[in-house]
Amino acid sequence: MKKSTTRNAFLGAFVAMAVSLGVLSAPAKAAEQITLTIWTFGEVIQPGLQREYQKLHPEIKIIPIKNDVDPLHQKTILSCQTGGPADIIAFEVPYSGYWRTGNRPSCFQDLRQMKTSGTNAEAGVAAGLSANDIKKNYLPWRWEQGVAFNDAVIGIPTDVGGLQVAYRTDLFKKAGLPTDRAAVSKLWPTWDAFIATGKKYVSKLTPAEKKAGKGFIDDAGSIYAAVMNQGTVKYYQPDGTDAGKLVYKTNPQIKKAWDTTVKALDAGIGARLGQFTSDWNIGMNKGAMATILAPAWMLDYIKKQAPDTKGKWDIADLPVGGGNQGGTELGIPSYSKNKQAAYDFLTWYLAPEQQLKVFKTYGLFPSTSVLYDDAALLDYKDEFFSNAPIGAIYTKGVLKLKPIFEGELQRKIDATFGAGLGRVASKKMTSAKSYALVISDIDKLFKN
């Protein structure tokens, strides 16, 4: 017995060696082997589709390298000065304002000058298409976020982060609230109604549950971004210049978003679980929150973190309607040595067919508006979320979205406001004092 295992092991090793040799020798047959290095984050590059593309094109090897959003931004800046190994780089929409202005668009290849080679003709991408030819497939304002102020196309949109409310039907039932998604959506036509519903929910919690830190919404601070993105102007106002005019001190939308959030914080409806922390992951399993303001891309995260809550979730409309959070661009850095292969991959990967697949498997909502009246998207239901027609729900939300002017330091300013609300949430400062500190912190950003 012992002997035969050893022999099997030898045999196994031999087979493994033969296979790996085979793999190594296979590329020799292909005309030329191309390696595409993709700097990405989160779930932007889906392994399933990556494998599919490599099957279509055995000569291409795709290596995605993941970073967090902010370090990746930094890496992109540095590599633009020094050159780097990346062929495709992902950047988030809040950073698009940075790349579109100044002399920074030159860090990326102008995609209007690229033409598809036709290697993907069978897969639905015709030959000879420049970025301007595929533009019509995408949501117009979303496409513009990848167009620099010198009209160069520096990025093609991946997803659009439509925002809706994910809620727990079982917890709603326990608190005597309706559970049907249409009825739930009617509960909160406004943010005030949303907060009032939250208060009602929290009042039904037992003292033990309250002590355990349970709440209506995971993090009341997330209301800020939701309200903010329902306006049309954030911290920069379009004024004909590339940079835009800074209005972080005067824009009434900011005050409205801040006050609404502080009201929710004061009402105590939040479980104070910061998103993507370990407490948040655990809390999701323990029913610590009954609602999450969930962009489409977060649904997959909920599924993975709390698989046991399957069927207990549903999706309702966002108060007021039309929320937006996130979204990513894929661009080709100017120093890439494989621009043609990279462009061919991008045009295939971000084509409507592939975006639909990504939505169905990973929940990233397509930015290709040609799909928005496609039954394949509209009829798509998800078991995990009580068979909610999430395709139709998110489409409805995305169609209500208004484009927002993204400025150079958008993400940093957002983070500063986030920290300010964090101070209020942890009762370290009063709302007024914290707000003043936010403004002076932003002032500092523009000094020196």
Binding site: G102, L273, S278, D279, G283, A415, A419, G420
Partner: protein, 325 residues
């Protein structure tokens, strides 16, 4: 044969008798003599070339850009000493200084106590599996900081962390927020640092404890000293120099605390409660794209290190002066 006389004129044996002979017969070995000269420089050149490129050049360059408003992808303009003026007026800088020293104090002193105690236990001659214990002490030190932070964040979680779960068993104790609280967050970071470095320091203390001659302990026990008294009057005084060494190395490390707070929250917390000096520098350079300002912060940190080194130097001299008395 040279003879050595002490201050009172008595003859003593030469300290290194085996060297006396060779000095007379000193003859350069064939081939080696020529290496003393030019070839010697060639042999050490690789280090200095690399040091020049990766050590000196960046330092000089960063001093240069500290006087500019320096945007990595935009235009840069001469800014005079404005960066330094801005730095002194920047409340975040002083906050970072406070946090850095608070975290340093919270990590260094408990660490010292734990390391000396562990070393005293490991010194025990009857201990079984010595090398096993010594090896295992170094495991936290070779663990990635990121991995340590992820695990500790789960321990210190406000709602579901293990530490708060245990504290919750005591009636009347509220959950401690190890992120938002100033001192609690410092404790969390200091704990991670202690966890990582305590084993390393234990080994240093152990090495110098093993160098203490057994005779001292024997005579102490003959004099009727208890184990505690032996520790207090024999072990501790002999460790004086080692303690200073560990303190200096700990201080330099303490001024560089970066990865732990950055993993907790990249901006150093909502009230910047755990923004450390190096994190402050990093954020100015790599989040705000203010390279010139970050360089100025770097220079400020250099001066802080110099001041602390000077203080250390004075204390060390004083201690070693006492030792020889």
């Amino acid at each position: 044969m040279t003879t050595i006389k002490d201050s009172k004129g008595r003859q003593t044996a030469p300290l290194t008798p085996w060297k006396q002979k060779s000095r007379k017969e000193k003859k350069p070995l064939p081939g080696v003599g020529s290496m003393d000269g030019r070839w010697g420089y060639a042999a050490i050149a690789p280090f200095f070339i690399i040091f020049l490129i990766f050590g000196v050049a960046p330092v000089v360059y960063s001093i240069y850009i500290a006087f500019f408003k320096w945007d990595p992808l935009g235009e840069s303009e001469f800014n005079g000493i404005n960066n330094f003026i801005f730095l002194v007026q920047d409340s975040d800088f002083w906050l970072a200084l406070r946090n850095t020293f608070s975290i340093w104090a919270l990590s260094t002193f408990p660490q010292m106590v734990i390391a000396i105690s562990l070393a005293a236990i490991l010194r025990n001659k009857r201990l079984k599996g010595k090398s096993f214990w010594r090896t295992i002490l170094l495991v936290p030190n070779i663990t990635s900081v990121i991995a340590i932070t992820i695990v500790f964040q789960q321990l210190f979680g406000r709602e579901y962390g293990l530490i708060n779960s245990v504290l919750g068993l005591i009636p009347g104790v509220e959950n401690i927020d190890f992120i938002e609280g100033v001192i609690p967050s410092h404790i969390q970071i200091a704990t991670m640092i202690t966890w990582r470095w305590v084993g390393y320091n234990t080994l240093i203390f152990l090495a110098s404890m093993l160098a203490i001659p057994d005779e001292l302990y024997e005579s102490a026990s003959v004099d009727g000293a208890t184990k505690w008294q032996q520790f207090k009057y024999v072990t501790l005084p002999s460790l004086k120099n080692t303690i200073t060494f560990v303190l200096i190395v700990g201080t330099i490390g303490g001024l560089q605390v970066f990865a732990e707070p950055q993993q907790l929250a990249a901006d150093g917390g909502s009230t910047k409660q755990f923004l450390t000096l190096t994190l402050f520098l990093y954020n100015q350079a790599f989040l705000n794209n203010k390279y010139g300002y970050a360089a100025a912060i770097g220079i400020a940190i250099t001066f802080i290190v110099l001041i602390i080194s000077a203080i250390n130097f004075v204390i060390t001299r004083k201690i070693s002066g006492e030792g020889s008395r």
